[in-house]
Symmetry: C2
């Protein structure tokens, strides 16, 4: 498939010309996709190999890790370095772009940590009020 013909009319996306898809949606599609954030987090301490990340993240399949890494590499968040050895060795690492993303990501993490309790409580209040 080429590209989704959908249009997003939100002001969130209309803040720039739509030559490119909405940056937010673009970024959100990446970090919102279940694994990218975990991968980015796994790479935060330093370079990692494929199976290393596979084990570290734990509940990701090879296919999804592979896809996610490729996506992140494609978008310039990480680099992929293959060493022509045998057995093969491939290492992934954050780029400057990837590292710069840790700031807003950190803000999000901090907010989540700070307000998670409130969210959980809101859910419980909701269930109590609506009767499940």
């Amino acid at each position: 498939m080429t590209d989704s013909p959908k249009k997003s009319a939100s002001s969130l996306c209309e803040r720039q010309a739509l030559a490119q898809p909405c940056p937010i949606r673009d970024v959100l599609d990446r970090i919102g996709d279940q694994w990218s954030l975990l991968v980015l987090d796994a790479l935060a301490p330093g370079r990692r190999r494929f199976n290393e990340m596979l084990r570290e993240i734990g509940d990701v399949s090879r296919q999804m890790l592979s896809r996610t890494l490729k996506q992140l590499e494609q978008d310039g968040f990480i680099t992929r370095t293959a060493y022509p050895e045998v057995p093969p060795r491939v290492e992934y690492a954050l780029t400057d772009l990837g590292r710069s993303f840790q700031a807003p990501m950190g803000a999000l993490v901090a907010w989540a940590d700070e307000h998670h309790r409130a969210i959980v409580e809101a859910r419980q209040r909701y269930l109590a009020g609506a009767g499940g």
Copy 2:
């Protein structure tokens, strides 16, 4: 269904006890779900009615808007106020929690705006290098 039996082994989620699911995953599951962010954004200027948002967002179905609103209400991001009139009128508005979320969301939006060009360029470079 009760709850996903999946476990996330990432340090991103191990920063607190896992009595609750990882706050980040929890928050990400919400804002990463294609519509929540758009809804939150639509409500930023002030209260909105159902069909108003439906039109404003543009490419969201009734069902998904309904679900998203319910989720956000449940999580304490927004309030739902039904006026016992005929025809019925329902208004949605951000809560304090919802408004507080605009800070990290703003950071993310700013980052996306600032680096979107770099991401697009990285993609083009990737395509050029890998030959599609």
